[in-house]
Symmetry: C2
Subunit: 152 residues, 2 copies
């Protein structure tokens, strides 16, 4: 798979990830480690909550989104997250759901402090198999330039 | 441990979590699942990056922060995340670091759509053992009222 650099991206570029399935086992495992609340932990307890069943932690959805984003964009030397805004979870993620992430590049600029890098601003929208939005977010990330900034 | 309801909180309340240690094993394990980039995956490869060593995924830090927040606030029936803003990672988290989370309640109001719930706005600041800030965020969460809104 092609490795990507800052220089390969322009505003308006869109990318769609492969699908990722959410199993009950993984959903519960994540919750035990990181978000031990009753609507994430067990089917029985979750049925008595306002969600009427198990749902994934929003942070699990965020982590799965990162996985799909990293695989799809495949930055040479990686993407360094600088910050995230407007992170929200409009629809619950449930066991059996299949998530995909669509990435849109909103802005690209050179880094002022690190000549070998550029800063990209992007929107990641995570949807389930019915096209319902499970998560949206805006992010800034620092990614390496193809020539390491040597042409400056 | 006392279970907390919306009614127990007021603007300006602050809470400090127990400490949580970040092991190299867990850091790498999270990265393999959710953020497979070279500065998160192996000590050798991470040493050749700008971080000069292994660092935790920001989403791992976010997930550990959720764990500490959930344990500390201990909401009866749980806290439902509505959205997050200004999530950032000012200092890298490395193996051996010990994280604590400080929560400040910024706003409290009743839910308009769900009488049994209130909405809180909070800031979570995650610091390491040297007092350096590893993560900051603002969040809105929906939490149950003690009387289920019956007094309305």
């Amino acid at each position: 798979m092609k490795e990507r650099y800052f220089d390969d991206l322009k505003v308006g570029d869109r990318f769609k990830s492969e699908p990722l399935s959410v199993t009950e086992k993984k959903l519960i495992e994540f919750a035990h480690r990181f978000d031990p609340q009753m609507f994430h932990l067990s089917r029985n307890r979750a049925e008595r909550t306002i969600f009427k069943g198990l749902i994934a932690s929003g942070w699990h959805t965020a982590a799965m989104t990162m996985r799909l984003f990293v695989q799809t964009l495949n930055f040479a030397e990686g993407a360094i997250g600088l910050g995230v805004d407007e992170l929200s979870w409009p629809n619950a993620v449930r066991p059996g759901d299949v998530l995909t992430v669509e990435t849109e590049i909103l802005d690209v600029r050179l880094s002022r402090s690190r000549p070998g890098y550029g800063i990209i601003r992007l929107r990641n929208v995570t949807t389930n198999q019915r096209g319902e939005v499970a998560q949206t977010m805006l992010a800034n990330a620092m990614v390496p330039r193809a020539d390491g900034g040597a042409a400056e």
